[in-house]
Subunit: 160 residues, 4 copies
């Protein structure tokens, strides 16, 4: 049972149409008890390619051994025909991304996919850090300093 | 008439299935008399995104006023379904590329497109510098230093 | 009283011939209860200028508000005549370093100054992170990733 | 005899109190016939260390084989006591600078040294490119793009 008095909002479940780099679909519920980093990106977003994805990669390399789960989410909200799953698959291969990456489920009635809507994300890249109790501790659009992300993860791993 | 005793090979014409950023198709023949930089890339090639295309952009910004023509060529030789023209169009838009970019014409019988074959390119990024007489003065796969490319262009502009 | 069973060694006091950016000399004893980052450098060490000092600066900017003390230590063990305090003062001014920086006390009988000896440092840059109980939790020569340093500091701030 | 109608000013001779990396003092007169790159810097100037000197190094590595002479000039106009020749010597050693570097001759009556005055330099880094006839073809304070410097040198080498 989670503490209802927490000042931190519960992270909504994500919804993915399909997954890459995952034998079975990772769910937020199944990751309860672990720190989760959710990195929302678009493959044709220059800021994601230059800063966001390298940071997600480094987080995966640095913290996987401490049980931190790094989850990528391809939240296409523009140029939909240009960023299909087949293009994403080649992108993941060429950029050597090894953590699980889900394709955010398209909405039936608009360009913004469902998880992006549920989290209220404003664009890409967006970094979300979720604690062991499933609560959102960081939700940031744009570039975030490695020192700051590192400190938050260190704090969460220490139970702080 | 070109000088048949030149030690530099004549650049073959390029063949493009379609063009972006160009009202009409640029042809090598029509550019005779100008220095031409041909930058071959793939939109999902990390080295192209990190180094090759920023250099092509800088060449365009630096030397267009001196009459240098910068021509991009999307030479897809792998992941064909992932790098269709519709994906390339979004890529060009997101990365703010403003010079003409052609889609190298697919071969009927193999993965390597026609211009890539004609030039004997080994991969992407490849930089080709063609002089005012249509001869290949530089043909390099991988990263090339700005100082070296700049010096060659300066030399050609001086008629050297 | 510190826990004698700790697996982490107690940090020895530092010894400085003089200080910059400090009204009075900071002592490790007086900082007990706070996380301390000790950054040992030489002003003419390229790795310190390119990586170590920018990281120390970023640590100061990021974590000073959380009570982390960042202390620079100029550990000259070569080119002594070239890196005198007057040169260091100009360096600190030009590079806009704002955290306290001590000049490691020269040894009477060799090139390696006293604090550098006491900590067993092998060269510059060296990063030492000391916890609230005065114990050394990280002692690294060369480049250390921001994510890793951030995580350690976050963990210590959480009491982990 | 130089062409008196040239639109480019003649470069004044430099005056150095001493030289590093040179068996005998290089003089501008003796370099007539070669392209000369004069890079004015101060060892404690962050922009020189981050951009100017790496560019001078790259120019030396790229163009020495074409006869281009790269000359460093330590133009100390502030913090004189901090940037003495003994400090400069250690700096040159640590940063692996291999081209000749002169110490601009101090003026008897002010902080700005003699060559810096003669060239009308406004600060450091300053890049001066001198053609084979001893005329100043580029005189720039601050950062200059590699492509632009490369193009000028290429042009001069081609006699343009």
């Amino acid at each position: 049972m989670t503490d209802d008095r927490s000042p931190w909002p519960l992270a909504p479940p994500w919804r993915a149409a399909r997954w890459f780099n995952a034998a079975e679909a990772p769910s937020l519920a199944a990751l309860r008890g672990r720190v989760v980093v959710l990195h929302a990106f678009q493959m044709l977003c220059p800021g994601c390619v230059a800063h966001g994805l390298p940071q997600a990669k480094a987080l995966y390399e640095q913290f996987a051994v401490y049980g931190v789960a790094v989850i990528g989410l391809h939240t296409v909200f523009e140029h939909h025909a240009a960023m299909t799953p087949v293009s994403l698959g080649a992108f993941i291969h060429e950029y050597r991304l090894e953590f699980p990456i889900g394709v955010d489920e398209p909405a039936g009635d608009g360009p913004v996919p469902l998880t992006m809507q549920a989290y209220g994300m404003r664009g890409t890249p967006t970094l979300v850090v979720i604690d062991q109790a499933g609560r959102i501790r960081l939700h940031r659009f744009g570039r975030v300093e490695d020192l700051a992300v590192g400190a938050l993860i260190g704090r969460l791993l220490a139970g702080g």
